[in-house]
Symmetry: C2
Subunit: 396 residues, 2 copies
């Protein structure tokens, strides 16, 4: 038998799989075009041509052994410098290549950070609602994840609860901005307040509390919103990033960690990240993708596509009487369940062939997540189903 | 401060880094052409053109969102099937696509296997001399690595010691074939004996003991040697593989796990590997590389190049009176230190600008590893230095 731990993980994963299979079964019965699957957060806008051309150019022109070969575990210096310069131009930061570690996506980056900072029993805080995978990422390195409860009025974090949950064992706070599953952007005021709280607690306990920022949705923002760049507000910050969404390349597994140049023992931290990259088995971020990135750092997928979807579905759902905070970024809506038990609402939606994910997966029961990274046409086709669903709840 | 664990890891890693920096410093002083760096196991033969063409074709012809997108955590079915068919043709096995999980290289594959099979405190055996990274891979998942002592007469495993080291907590045995650092291939008789021992101990303890095979050097074999394919000898086997060496693409991080179709609870094991791929942050093997592999599964780098190096350096060193087992595969020589303390021999070699790695790194003191994945010309240039080194030891 495989490990007891993994048997539990498999059991935990089976709900998502069950939903996936149910969707497939539904498609067989009523036709794929009549199933409205809003359950998956998969990018679906085109990959920028500039990026594909950069791949072909690299394969054609670079020495192929260098192109596909080992490099420093932190990545090619050329790529690290390109990331640093790009951030400096956009955010007025002062990164050098030596502050950047290339990683196997943001999921890889987060595991590398936690491996670097956590000793067994150390605590990491997460602000509910949060991406459920964080639980596994912290547990992988024998850390303990503690939840800060949600403020469902604004979905900005509950700062009082954050303050109360910090203990002498707290080693990190993970922030996702813009937030999956709400689409909210934590404001500059929020970030400043978080920074003050952490500064104070660092002094009180006499050790670093790291801010670990997970920013795969940083470029997916609407209505001229911007996402505060965290190293400008708090020194002990690791910013983790993935190009999965901005370039629509989630399968390629490429991202980075930017370490604040003002972090305590910054160079030791970077060394730790490199070692973690190696011993966790990532070794390095895929080499060809690193090379292609140098020439497509500013390429972007079609963010307007998601925005058009957002306006359609948000407009319609609020018109129908559903309650949800207006998303400023990412590609999710977080809808309040019209009945206390979200599971029943998920089931009711399913009867209309609408697939949603319960908020309990994000430690925020009573809500459901709708991912609008789907085709505009599917949203249009789904609207009558939402009307019927709303009608049902109006009748009851 | 980063974690105490990571501070120790950094201290452990600094020896390799020190050697690297020393080599650079040496190159400055005496010229790069007069430094003979045999310390790194980095592939250096050309990447097959077929593989680069497969990348360009995939970028040109495939839907780019599918090409760079998410797929099942186990990989594209098309790639998994291509791996299965390729193994079946070459080894007479009976894999289906569902028995293959694509991974971020062999290092990723090993971590995924250990995450799947280990509960805290479970033991994994390794046969000395072995690749030092295994210690980290097992420790990552709270397992305990136990060493089986080397048989330095043949460098086949010491089977008596293997038998003695299996306890009720033993969950796995890791085998590297051909072996880094000796270049020895474990023979069919060795494999059959290991299988019998494990079968017997499984019965005695009433639970599975998994054989975890690490085979990045499988294709690098000489003199018509072959490497026994382990699923044919023992049912509870995971074969982990990387294309790093056979295609000279170590930077791309692409490999797989082949799960014996006869493994106990085989489909649960595969499910566990998929979940582990996800929660460890690999998520999936890089997607473009998976697609390119489908069309270059049989491509090979120039193995004869390594063979030519092997014959030159092995011939010369034995002629000079050094003792080492003749390598049958991989690209390493494991040389007996002519004085009891290998560190002194490493230092003596360094005075002649020859860089070698001490056997203690492989849990086999009294030896040094020489990696001959270097240019033929560098080996030629190094021979006078080896002559002087041998001369020194003859005089003493």
């Amino acid at each position: 038998m495989i490990s007891k731990q993994m048997q539990q993980e498999i059991a935990g994963s089976s709900a998502i799989r069950a939903m996936f299979l149910e969707g497939k079964e539904m498609a067989k019965q009523v036709g794929a075009e009549n199933v409205y699957d809003f359950s998956l957060g998969n990018p679906m806008t085109p990959v920028p041509e500039q990026y594909n051309q950069a791949i072909i150019d690299a394969v054609r022109t670079e020495n192929s052994l260098e192109l596909h070969g080992y490099m420093d575990n932190a990545g090619y210096l050329e790529t690290r410098q390109a990331v640093a310069e790009n951030l400096n131009q956009r955010f007025g930061t002062e990164f050098e290549g030596s502050h950047i570690v290339m990683t196997v996506g943001a999921a890889g980056a987060l595991n590398v950070v936690f491996k670097t900072i956590l000793d067994p029993g150390d605590e990491v805080l997460a602000l509910a609602p949060y991406f459920g995978e964080y639980r596994g990422y912290v547990a992988n390195h024998q850390g303990i994840l503690r939840e800060v409860k949600p403020d469902t009025a604004t979905f900005q974090p509950d700062l009082e609860d954050l303050q109360a949950k910090i203990t002498p064992r707290t080693k990190g706070l993970i922030i996702n901005n813009p937030v999956n599953p709400t689409g909210v952007i934590y404001s500059e005021a929020t970030i400043q307040n978080i920074a003050s709280i952490l500064e104070e607690k660092q002094k009180e306990y006499g050790h670093e509390i790291y801010l670990v920022s997970d920013e795969p949705y940083r470029e997916l923002v609407y209505d001229g919103n911007t996402v505060p760049f965290l190293t400008k507000y708090y020194d002990n910050t690791f910013v983790t990033y993935s190009f999965s969404k901005s370039l629509s390349i989630p399968g390629e597994r490429i991202g980075y960690i930017a370490v604040s140049p003002c972090m305590a023992d910054c160079s030791q931290a970077v060394q730790g990240l490199s070692v973690a990259n190696r011993i966790l088995g990532f070794v390095n971020a895929p080499s060809l993708m690193q090379k292609a990135l140098v020439k497509s750092m500013d390429a972007r997928t079609d963010v307007d596509y998601y925005d058009r979807n957002r306006r359609l579905i948000y407009g319609k759902l609020t018109e129908l009487g559903f309650t949800c905070v207006k998303p400023q970024g990412a590609f999710y809506l977080f809808i309040q369940s019209p009945e206390p038990e979200e599971k029943k609402f998920v089931e009711a939606a399913k009867k209309h062939h609408i697939l949603l994910v319960g908020g309990s997966s994000f430690s925020c029961p009573g809500y459901v997540r709708l991912a609008y990274c789907v085709s505009y046409e599917m949203i249009e086709r789904s609207l009558p189903a939402f009307e019927k669903l709303a009608e049902e709840y109006r009748r009851n």
